[in-house]
């Protein structure tokens, strides 16, 4: 295992300590527990608060989106493991500004069970909690079982648009409606070229041949849908684009937001080579690209690979996407 760390068991806590020291004006923590990350200015009184959570090892997901115009708090678990209901509850209490809390997180059973418990605890304290599950990864289940799909990079579009709506003073119902609309119009798919290593496990989650890639990879080093020969960037892009469009079914003339996300070890150069083909194919089909996000937004530590996410936009989502944001990992001016 080639990682820069001390004791693997301290990986998450030390990462959080470093992060809190690096961003003291933007981030703080609740409940005397560094796993409970909140905006330094939480609670924002009168604003609907947004929280997320999940395992570590995906930076900027999840906590990287806590900040102005996006999220108010995030409960952080161990690498690839849910935070506890307690921790989610601590975050919830600290960020609640009197207008309710929206949980937006990926559809993973550990997280679902713990967020549900946290919501029950919050309701007992009179905090209204609403939940929106992210299930954007088309590779994880066919359309007829779309509710089983897992959440990957597409969650960033939900954070961005719902976060903007809340920042603009939207009500709890309005913020939930925006998150749901964003996600109903968002689809993702990924490929992996190399595995990653959970620090505490000490060995890679899977092995893969020098000339192979894993199609439909998630962001946890779980094996994907199938293993194939490595293809060219254009072939990989084409394949992902066609799968996503077949599922999203945009009409000619529709406008999309596009994200080309690196899984960790894939350099930005390669992501832009993918984007080149995305731009060519989408515009070739009469689709418009309003904004392109190319970089690392949801990773699996040092995994090589990339994912594509498209969100179909209407006027409201476009305006919310364009709204400013300022978090340690996501700045839009």
């Amino acid at each position: 295992m080639k990682k820069i760390l001390n004791n693997p068991n301290d990986f998450v806590v030390e990462m959080l300590e470093g992060l809190l020291k690096a961003h003291p004006t933007q981030l703080s923590y609740a409940g005397d527990d560094v796993h409970c990350i909140v905006r330094a200015d939480a609670p924002v009184v009168g604003k609907v608060a947004l929280a997320t959570g999940g395992g570590s090892g995906h930076l900027p997901v999840f906590l990287g989106y806590v900040g102005q115009g996006m999220l108010d708090g995030c409960a952080v678990g161990d690498v690839f493991a849910s935070p506890s209901a307690d921790q989610m509850f601590e975050v919830t209490k600290r960020i609640h500004g009197g207008a309710g809390v929206v949980y937006i997180y990926g559809n993973y059973s550990g997280d679902v069970m713990n967020f549900d418990m946290a919501a029950e605890l919050a309701e007992l304290e009179g905090i209204t909690v609403r939940t929106v599950l992210v299930r954007d990864d088309i590779a994880s289940a066919p359309p007829e079982r779309a509710e089983r799909r897992r959440g990957v990079a597409g969650m960033v579009f939900a954070f961005k648009t719902a976060g903007a709506k809340a920042a603009q003073g939207g009500s709890l119902d309005e913020v939930v409606a925006v998150a749901e609309k964003a996600l109903a119009n968002t689809r993702s798919m990924g490929v992996a070229l190399s595995p990653c290593t959970v620090p505490m496990a000490g060995r890679p989650t899977f092995t893969i041949g020098e000339d192979e890639m894993e199609i439909g990879m998630g962001i946890h080093g779980e094996p994907g849908m199938k293993r194939e020969k490595l293809q060219t960037a254009d072939q990989i892009a084409t394949r992902m684009i066609e799968a996503i469009l077949a599922d999203l079914k945009p009409a000619t003339g529709d406008t999309l937001a596009v994200m080309v996300n690196g899984l960790g070890a894939t350099p930005p150069e390669e992501l832009y080579i993918l984007y080149r083909k995305v731009h060519e194919l989408l515009t070739g089909r009469g689709l418009k690209i309003h904004r392109a996000y190319v970089g690392e937004f949801a990773t699996s530590m040092e995994m090589a690979g990339a994912s594509l996410t498209f969100m179909r936009l209407d006027d409201e989502l476009t305006a919310l996407l364009d709204y400013p944001a300022n978090t340690p990992f996501f700045k839009q001016i």
Partner: protein, 210 residues
């Protein structure tokens, strides 16, 4: 003859030691069909429970077990950890107020644990989860006791039933949770949650398992 706080504490410590001894194997099973955190998570829970077991009064075994469930959830709130925590809380609720457990209590605790895991995780039998080992185990345990067998004999049938349940779903495709996303590649692979239950029951019955 009932089971005292000392029995329960010792049983919990046996389970903790067994989970710690199997972390690598459980991790490798979870790497094959999931994300590879299970061994580590259950190891952390084992550490937390061992600490808990040696430092917590057992005069109310129901409270003791429910508290163990809360400690487990804090220590390792992954899917498996949360289900285990739920099982402990429900088992505790089933025997709340008691300072000694009769054999019938054990059967009820097992049943309560199964129901808790079902309600929390919403899996169906055949989805290829821990439930597919726990359901036959709880049934076999209760049936054996009802048939007049000793707790030791009933434990042995429960373990045998769990192993059979685990093996029966091994050829199947996982239908829920993380493993469901890799589709037919789960076929022929042991479900890590089933295996974890076999490890736990082996330790409880003090049998070599597998």
């Amino acid at each position: 003859m009932g089971y005292t706080g000392q029995h329960v504490t010792e049983a919990m410590l046996r389970v903790c030691a067994a989970l710690k001894a199997k972390t690598d194997y459980l991790t490798s099973l979870d790497q094959a069909v999931g994300d590879g955190d299970m061994g580590y998570t259950l190891g952390k829970i084992a550490d937390a429970l061992a600490l808990y077991a040696t430092g917590t009064p057992t005069n109310d075994l129901g409270k003791f077990l429910a508290g163990a469930g809360m400690a487990a959830n804090k220590a390792g709130p992954s899917t498996m950890g949360t289900l285990l925590a739920t099982a402990l809380m429900r088992a505790g609720k089933a025997v709340m107020g008691k300072s000694e457990l009769a054999s019938a209590d054990l059967a009820q605790m097992l049943q309560a644990a199964e129901q808790g895991i079902q309600e929390r995780g919403k899996a169906q039998l055949g989805d290829k989860t821990i439930l597919d080992a726990l359901h036959p185990a709880a049934g076999a345990f209760a049936a054996a006791l009802a048939g007049g067998q000793t707790v030791a004999a009933a434990g042995a049938s429960a373990l045998a039933a769990a192993i059979a349940g685990r093996d029966a779903v091994t050829p199947l495709r996982s239908k829920i949770g993380r493993a469901s996303w890799i589709g037919d590649r789960t076929e022929g692979r042991v479900d890590p949650g089933c295996e974890a239950l076999v490890v736990i029951l082996s330790a409880l019955t003090n049998a070599p398992g597998t």
